[in-house]
């Protein structure tokens, strides 16, 4: 087993042991089930809403939840090991620092992917079983799961960057919460505020690019505009006319959002004094 796989396997097993995997999967699965079936509760019928509606509501919820899960999962990946004293010992082993950080990241990524795929996948399977959804809605649902994993990886990479930069776990936790607030809440508010304040003068050229600077917005753009039937439901038809990125571009940007912070984290970690 290579060192990278050894670290990844260990993180995944730790996730199994400390119930992170079970917790995250149940949380995501429960919410997905609720959103898929709950619309029918007032009428007393167990009726499945159109799958496209589920994609819209589920993606809105994911934007809040997945970044938080990813940040909590990863913020002490480096600094926690350093503080406990495990890192000092591991660094005397014949493994490189790059192998350590990549291995741990893959392990945590597997935890997130498992939770998203199993949690949302189960709800999707239940929806399919009760019958519903055309082919395009299913593609939208598959896209939702894929981008949910990518969104998780982006925030996991940010968590690793925080973890490699700071000297204390508590600092890392504080910054992680700050990063969550910034990307999930403050950024959009600030953007909206800027639009209103400038009376819409932030033109069509700049505004779309500004959305790409936030992985949560990239995720939102993909899930609300990539598929025709979802677009109609989400009220984004107007926006998507002015802000149109090809789905492949959005996926690539989302992937960059995990690659760049992770590369930065690796280079910071390589210089960290022990």
């Amino acid at each position: 087993m290579t060192p990278i796989l050894t670290f990844a396997a260990k993180e995944f097993r730790d996730g199994l042991r400390n119930k992170w995997i079970a917790g995250a999967t149940l949380l995501l699965g429960g919410l997905a089930f609720a959103l898929t079936f709950l619309g029918s509760a007032p009428t007393g019928l167990l009726d499945v809403k159109p799958l496209a509606v589920t994609v819209v509501s589920l993606s809105s919820l994911t934007i809040f939840l997945i970044p938080l899960i990813a940040l909590l999962l990863g913020y002490d990946a480096i600094v926690g090991e350093a503080e406990r004293g495990c890192l000092l010992l591991i660094l005397t082993y014949p493994v490189s620092r790059l192998e350590i950080i990549v291995g741990k990241f893959l392990g945590h990524a597997a935890i997130l992917a498992f939770a998203a795929i199993v949690g949302y996948g189960a709800a999707g399977a239940a929806a399919a079983w009760t019958g519903g959804g055309d082919a395009e809605s299913w593609r939208a649902f598959a896209g939702l799961i894929l981008t949910t994993v990518l969104l998780g990886l982006a925030f996991l990479a940010l968590a690793y960057l925080i973890s490699a930069l700071v000297a204390e776990r508590s600092t890392a936790a504080g910054i992680a919460v700050g990063v969550w607030l910034l990307f999930v809440i403050v950024y959009d508010l600030a953007l909206m505020g800027a639009l209103v304040a400038s009376k819409g003068r932030i033109g069509a050229e700049i505004f779309p690019s500004l959305l790409l600077l936030n992985p949560a917005d990239v995720y939102r753009l993909f899930n609300l505009t990539a598929f025709e039937n979802v677009r109609k439901l989400s009220g984004m038809a107007g926006l998507s006319a002015s802000v149109h990125f090809a789905p492949a571009v959005l996926l690539a940007v989302l992937a960059l959002w995990s690659a760049i912070p992770l590369a930065l984290a690796a280079s910071v970690f390589a210089r960290r004094e022990v």
Binding site: M1, D14, R17, R84, L89, Y93, P94, S96, V274
Partner: protein, 310 residues
């Protein structure tokens, strides 16, 4: 050939000089003890030998390589037990050791024998958070012994261990040095090592203030031998006639005489010739604690100079 060779090594963090002008050599199959107060620089020196940090002055060569730039094959030959070793609490002892074995590129089949060797076989399937301090140290030693290292570094391994466990530790170290493993062990208590090491380096404020085998250190220190004579204390003191430092004990039944090593036999002959006045003799050579206090308490000749530079 020295397995570890350190020449004029210094390490500074900004303006803070943690190590200064360290020179040491440890031949193959020998055990070196680093002794010093907390903060004397023992752990920093170990980190330098392990290549975890780079020196700001001087040169270090370990197993024929510069540890700071050495490859994986170099690290394959190291074993390290950090002070306050920490493991993941949720793993069992066996799983923990298997994880470290895989990191070292070894088959996990070697693990049960190692656990047996450090006396953890019966607790191997228990989670680490149920382990006592001694059991954690045993597990720490087991991971340090993975792959039969050529150089073993143990940072305060015996602190807080009971005497039985300490004996077991030293027995394992003796077996290792017998097959050619070089060992560096640190402690802030010289007596804990019970003269089990070949070489001793006493560190103080980032410098080595004494280095050599214990006999050399004893001789260089020139500490007096204490001789306690029982009998008529006042009369003995009178007969010795002003020579030596003497303390008459409270009950006047015994006297303690501090005597330089070179005059020990002369004094003993004098005491023996006193006949009935001196009923019994007890000879106490300077203890390891005395020796340590002598070296670690000695003011550094260059303290003022060092202060000026810092």
């Amino acid at each position: 050939m020295s397995v570890v060779s350190i020449k004029d090594v210094g390490k500074a963090y900004g303006r803070l000089r943690v190590l200064d002008g360290i020179s040491l050599g440890v031949p193959q199959g020998k055990c070196l003890a680093l002794i010093g107060h907390n903060g004397a620089g023992k752990t920093t020196l170990m980190k330098l030998v392990l290549g975890l940090i780079r020196p700001t002055a001087g040169r270090i060569e370990v197993l024929g390589a510069d540890p700071a730039v050495a490859d994986k094959a170099f690290r394959q030959q190291l074993g390290f037990l950090p002070e306050n070793v920490a493991f993941h609490e949720e793993l069992t002892g066996a799983d923990t050791l298997a994880f470290y074995a895989r990191l070292k590129g070894l088959e996990t089949t070697c693990c049960p024998a190692l656990l047996e060797r450090v006396g953890l076989s019966s607790a191997a399937e228990r989670r680490v958070h149920t382990y006592s301090k001694g059991m954690r140290q045993r597990l720490g030693l087991a991971q340090a012994l993975l792959g039969t290292p050529k150089l073993l570094l143990l940072d305060e391994p015996t602190t807080g261990l009971d005497p039985v466990l300490r004996q077991e530790f030293f027995e394992i170290i003796r077996q290792l040095t017998a097959i050619g493993t070089t060992v560096i062990i640190s402690s802030h208590i010289l007596t804990e090592l019970e003269a089990r090491t070949d070489l001793v380096a006493i560190m103080r404020e980032g410098r080595v203030v004494a280095y050599g085998d214990l006999d050399t250190l004893r001789r260089d220190a020139g500490l007096p031998v204490t001789i306690r004579a029982k009998g008529d204390a006042a009369l003995i003191a009178h007969r010795l006639n002003g020579a030596f430092t003497k303390t008459i004990l409270a009950d006047e039944q015994a006297i303690e005489i501090g005597c330089p090593l070179t005059q020990k036999m002369a004094l003993l002959r004098t005491l023996a010739s006193l006949g009935e006045i001196c009923a019994d003799l007890e000879i106490r050579p300077p203890s390891l604690d005395d020796l340590y206090l002598h070296y670690s308490g000695r003011p550094l000749s260059s303290t003022a100079e060092q202060g000026g530079r810092a």
